[in-house]
């Protein structure tokens, strides 16, 4: 099985493509999980904090949200490398993608926490619940439910944005397909296939999100 130039796409490539698909799913799941956990913590801190802490935290999050992800990825991986601590592309990509996800998730969760009426917390406290019991049993579950559709929206865009991690050398689906394109010179077929993959993941999930949203508004 020679890897000479311009060999057309064949079934032998399916393992290679599958690895790309799994790597995309892998880094997306890692970023969504870590970004959700951090976003929950940061969102909670923001909903509980005074103005000063919110301004400091808010500006840090604004930077993460406003600087294009691709620039953050290149800056971080180049800087870390230049400092003499080169990181594996997966690790560097996961760190930046998770922080980027966290920045958006924290806003989602902050509004979730703020949607829980104060009177409901007082009712819970009057039953003898401690502050943290109220957070755990009342505020998190009620607040999270309220923002589930927005959470899903952020998660979906993270899956799509994960394609950018290809620029620092992580072998996810886009980078895999770029290599296949340079070998096969069949960009149309390959990019259509990759596009279809993202569509097949995103579209059903966004339909589901809309369904949940409709159900909640009734």
């Amino acid at each position: 099985m020679g890897m000479s130039l311009f060999t057309p796409l064949s079934w032998n490539d399916s393992g290679f493509i599958l690895t790309g698909i799994l790597n995309t799913i892998y880094i997306s799941v890692v970023a969504i999980v870590i970004g959700t956990i951090l976003g929950l913590i940061v969102g909670f801190i923001r909903s509980e904090s005074n103005k000063l802490i919110n301004i400091i935290l808010g500006s840090f999050l604004d930077i993460l949200r406003s600087v294009p992800l691709i620039i953050q990825l290149i800056l971080f991986s180049t800087y870390i490398g230049a400092m003499g601590h080169p990181l594996d592309p997966f690790v560097a990509g996961s760190i930046i993608l998770s922080l980027y996800t966290m920045a958006f998730m924290s806003e989602v969760f902050r509004s979730g926490f703020q949607s829980v009426p104060n009177s409901m917390q007082i009712a819970a406290r009057s039953l003898g619940m401690t502050y943290w019991q109220t957070v755990r049993y009342i505020r998190i579950p009620i607040g999270m439910r309220a923002v589930f559709p927005s959470w899903l929206g952020v998660a979906l865009s993270v899956i799509k944005d994960s394609a950018l991690v290809s620029v620092i050398g992580y072998m996810e689906l886009l980078r895999t397909s770029e290599q296949l394109i340079s070998r096969t010179q069949q960009p149309l077929t390959i990019l259509l296939g990759v596009g279809l993959f993202y569509f097949m993941i995103s579209y059903p999930l966004s339909l589901y999100g809309k369904h949940v949203e409709r159900k909640m508004s009734i």
Binding site: M120, S126, L127, G128, M129, Q133
Partner: protein, 241 residues
Amino acid sequence: MIKIRGVHKSFGDLEVLKGIDLDVNKGEVVSIIGGSGSGKSTLLYCINAIEPINSGQIIVDDIDVHNKKTNKNKLREKLGMVFQQWNSFPHLTVLENAALAPEVVRGLSKKDAIEIAKKELSHVGLGDKFNEYPTRMSGGQQQRLAIARALAMEPSYMLFDEVTSALDPELVGEVLDTLRLLRDDGMTMICVTHEIAFAKEVSDKVAFFHQGIIEEMGTPTEVLENPKKERTQQFLSKVLH
């Protein structure tokens, strides 16, 4: 017994309670009436330490409520409270609403918590609603759920803060019936209420609040039928038309 002595409470510059003295004995039903802003709801919030007080003392059994060393969460296990807004937990079924605090606060096993929740829900007439979500129920049903939820903590006292004020008129009766049921059980209760006829019927003692003080207090007959103070007379003539 609940002993309230010389309680003062301000919100900023506004003094809402200006020296309240009140005793609530075991098994007694005390109704608090008065215009809005007279401080009657605030007093309930001070009794279970949701609001701090500026001076005075509130003793519940042997607990000095506003002492810094008092464990407020332990105190609140003794005091069930029901609010004007029922505040059902929308993510939990009716049964889970009532079983949550017994399990996480009292530390009962899930099985025991569910058992006591079922008992109290059946008591207030929600025995057929265990698996319903509260948002699908009427305000009256949700308010009865709030009562059962508080009862499931097996409190020694119940505090009711205008529990029928947010209800549609046709739903008031079922909630008042539930309160009558508790009175018949011998529950010690403080009811802040606008339902004068109800207060007359169930109370051992009625206190009329006016601008942060107890203007007049006595048996329902004394306060509601033969009020001595002019303010009380004016208030009653207004609410009874």
